[in-house]
Subunit: 108 residues, 2 copies
């Protein structure tokens, strides 16, 4: 319980424009692996539906590590490509976790 | 810009078990409408993919309104039904927004 309290959650809400699926897929896979290799990375949850609407939440040990990922040169370049090629819109929200709880059908 | 700074974001990450689609769908629709009618509600983003994995983020003006929604009797009863019937697992994370930014292809 409470394992994410104090972490920084970066939520990326976006809609894909449906173009360049192959390019987008390769870049998304690369960004997920690169993020996971950064200092301070604490996990990610990501989902996109068939309409192209998606939410990705990445978790960081502190604000400095979240900002370092934002400023990572390859991430910044990919974000630029995303604006040119892949997205209709996106919204990024940075927030500090104050509480959390989890439930699983296997642990009742 | 910065329109969500200071708001409380409640992130619900879950996996559906695939059973009782009709009951789940009706309850999800009802909960979305009920949440939107609560004092302090400031919006919601929600997506679920075909595997049943989903992320919903609701935004609240402050911690008190987020907690009031958690404790709403009908919401609490539906959460109980969800554990009995609809979910393999879920994780709830409550966080305070410190910054946000948005980009849209139409506003370059």
């Amino acid at each position: 319980m409470d394992e994410r309290v104090g972490q920084v959650a970066v939520t990326f809400v976006s809609r894909r424009n449906g173009r360049d699926e192959a390019g987008y897929g390769a870049a998304a896979e690369r960004m997920e692996a690169l993020a996971a290799a950064q200092a301070g990375f604490r996990g990610v949850d990501s989902v996109r539906d068939s309409s192209g609407f998606g939410i990705t939440v990445s978790y960081w040990v502190d604000e400095a590590s979240a900002s370092a990922w934002r400023d990572h040169p390859e991430h910044a370049a990919t974000r630029e490509r995303g604006r040119d090629r892949w997205y209709d819109f996106y919204v990024v929200t940075v927030a500090t976790v104050t509480r959390d709880y989890r439930w699983s059908a296997g642990n009742e």
